[in-house]
């Protein structure tokens, strides 16, 4: 009989290997961000941190220029991504909580028709309809605008479904009690439905923040001006075709800066993240 404390050894081994495999691309990116461009370009990057950490990160944040690349300062890129992610998350929560409230708490003609219309958006991710959506954006003159960047990404039913589901669990007695006390629908929304939805809002916010931060194809098409570039697009542009002789140190320090915010959000708000992910998709 194997002693109890060793019986789980294979399980730990598999999990530790998994954790290491998951982490090593980021580890090497970090190492790359602490050396100079020519050491990396010669293919001689050591496996331990080097002396150029402060220099590389300062360069990335303030100018992102090296011998070969002319990037956008990463602090500006991070700001753009933050604005985009927050706008998408807040905007989508706002429109979907209102529409879910209407569908769940009112009876009115065409209710199910409107709900079905919103539900249909689940069928087609934005990538599928990206060419025609682009056409519509340029007809409306929304190319290179912040509205054009964010609003089309809010057109989806996930938030509405989540809130509707939750609103249906609010007991009818609450509504009746509110009515007896003379509260109208707006008062009920503000004083009861909204506060009760706090955890759902938080969960949805985390998911949508990640979703917004990581957008790629849509910002690539809609924003051609350098001022609006997001961090993900900015890094891919810096990297170009990935030649050996480029400023990998700056690309890697920018990459580390780009992945820190969403990773921190997922790790620090794990509980809400897990809840949001499982609820919005199921």
């Amino acid at each position: 009989m194997i002693p109890k404390q060793f019986r789980n050894f294979p399980v730990h081994l598999i999990l530790i290997v998994a954790v290491i495999v998951f982490a090593f691309p980021v580890y090497f990116a970090f190492i790359g961000s602490t050396w100079d461009a020519s050491t990396i370009g010669r293919g001689q990057m050591p496996l331990t941190p080097g002396p150029n950490l402060v220099e590389n990160y300062t360069n990335s944040l303030t100018s992102a220029r090296g011998g070969r690349i002319i990037g956008n300062p990463v602090q500006a890129l991070l700001w753009n991504s933050l604005m985009m992610a927050v706008a998408i998350a807040v905007g989508k929560i706002f429109i979907s909580i209102l529409s879910a409230y209407a569908v769940a708490f009112f009876k009115f003609p065409l209710r199910m028709f409107f709900f079905a219309m919103i539900f249909l958006t689940l069928m087609l991710p934005i990538e599928v309809r990206i060419a025609p959506t682009y056409k519509v954006m340029s007809d409306l003159g929304l190319i290179n605008t912040f509205a054009g960047l964010t609003i089309p990404l809010m057109a989806s039913a996930t938030g509405t479904l989540l809130f509707r589901q939750f609103f249906l669990t609010i007991p009818d007695e609450y509504v009746e009690a509110a009515k007896i006390d003379g509260a109208g629908p707006l008062r009920f929304f503000w004083s009861i439905a909204l506060p009760l939805s706090r955890t759902n809002i938080a969960a949805l916010f985390v998911i949508l923040f990640i979703y917004g931060w990581n957008q790629y194809l849509w910002p690539l098409l809609v924003t051609t001006s350098r001022d609006m570039e997001t961090i993900v697009i900015g890094i891919v542009k810096m990297m170009g075709s990935g030649e050996a002789q480029t400023d990998w140190n700056i690309i890697m320090s920018s990459t580390v800066l780009a992945l820190l915010p969403p990773v921190l959000v997922v790790v620090l708000m794990q509980q809400w993240f897990v809840r949001g992910l499982v609820q919005t998709e199921k």
Partner: protein
């Protein structure tokens, strides 16, 4: 479903619905119908005249060997990503579901890659598998195998699969883990009392109970590999070398934005819409009803 106690108000609900309806119509229904409309039109090279061409664009697309080729690339790519992601995610979830020390820490350490953008995943993997400066790329080359994903199509596809899967495993892991944790302990205890081995327990009890999760994840992973991996491909290989990593989504982008053939691109978009609709419909219609639920 409708609740009993509702508010009576004739106008308010429409106002509440208005923002979402406007966005849905302008950015969803209008473009989707535009896609269908454009897919039956043809523009002359100067964009001056458009003519109605029935299903010509579809015929051109579907009989184009390049399109068929990217169809094949997409299928190979999606099947590889789905298999790779699901088998590893299931393995990790079964391991992390055990009552071991540090289970919560393992969970956190396996979850964070979900937060990464596909394009960022591509940058990270390019840096390690770069043939001349990447730690692993160099190591492979020094063993005598010629590794260069910029020249070898199969290697390019492999790298794109690995980078995409790496990012997606965390997502599947979470869903499998949630599925496993919702299995009632009594079921597992009963199997143990009957003398089931760990493998037998997994094979005959846990895996069948996970089937709704499994089918759901197959759809999600296919949709992920069709569309969300655009960033990986655009950053890592630009669809090349040759067309070895040009998926359907990448081809829509190339034809629509780079080669500016709107009719053909729209026809391809419509084909993609049909594929996704069939997948989602299949998911709702068959899988939701017929698989074992816990």
């Amino acid at each position: 479903m409708q609740r009993r106690a509702v508010f009576n108000n004739r106008i308010l609900p429409y106002f509440l619905l208005l923002p979402q309806l406007v966005i849905t119509i302008v950015f969803f229904f209008w473009p989707a119908s535009q896609a269908i409309y454009q897919s039956v039109l043809k523009q002359d090279p100067f964009g001056l005249r458009t003519t109605f061409v029935y299903l010509d664009n579809f015929q051109t697309v579907l009989s184009d060997p390049l399109y068929i080729e990217s169809f094949q690339v997409t299928i190979v790519f999606s099947v590889l990503v789905t298999l790779f992601v699901m088998s590893l995610a299931l393995l990790f979830a079964v391991m992390a579901d055990r009552q071991i020390r540090g289970a919560q820490t393992y969970k956190t350490l396996l979850l964070w890659p979900y937060a990464l953008a596909p394009a960022v995943a591509a940058v990270l993997w390019m840096f390690i598998f770069h043939p001349s400066i990447g730690v692993f790329g160099k190591a492979i080359n020094s063993t005598g195998i010629k590794w260069d994903y910029q020249l070898n199509g199969a290697q390019a596809l492999l790298l794109v699969v690995v980078a995409s899967s790496w990012k997606q495993i965390a997502h599947n892991f979470l869903f499998f883990l949630a599925g496993l944790q919702s299995v009632p302990p009594a079921v597992i205890e009963a199997a143990m009392i009957d003398g089931a081995s760990a493998w037998k327990l997994f094979r005959s009890v846990l895996f069948p109970l996970l089937s709704p999760t499994t089918f759901y994840l197959i759809t999600i992973n296919l949709v992920f590999s069709f569309f969300d991996t655009f960033g990986v491909i655009h950053a890592l290989t630009h669809g090349g070398p040759g067309r070895s990593t040009t998926t359907l989504m990448y081809k829509v982008y190339m034809d629509g934005y780079v080669n500016l053939n709107l009719g053909l691109s729209a026809a391809q978009s419509v084909i993609l819409m049909i594929i996704v609709s069939v997948l989602v419909w299949f998911q709702f219609r068959f899988v939701e009803g017929k698989v074992h639920y816990t």
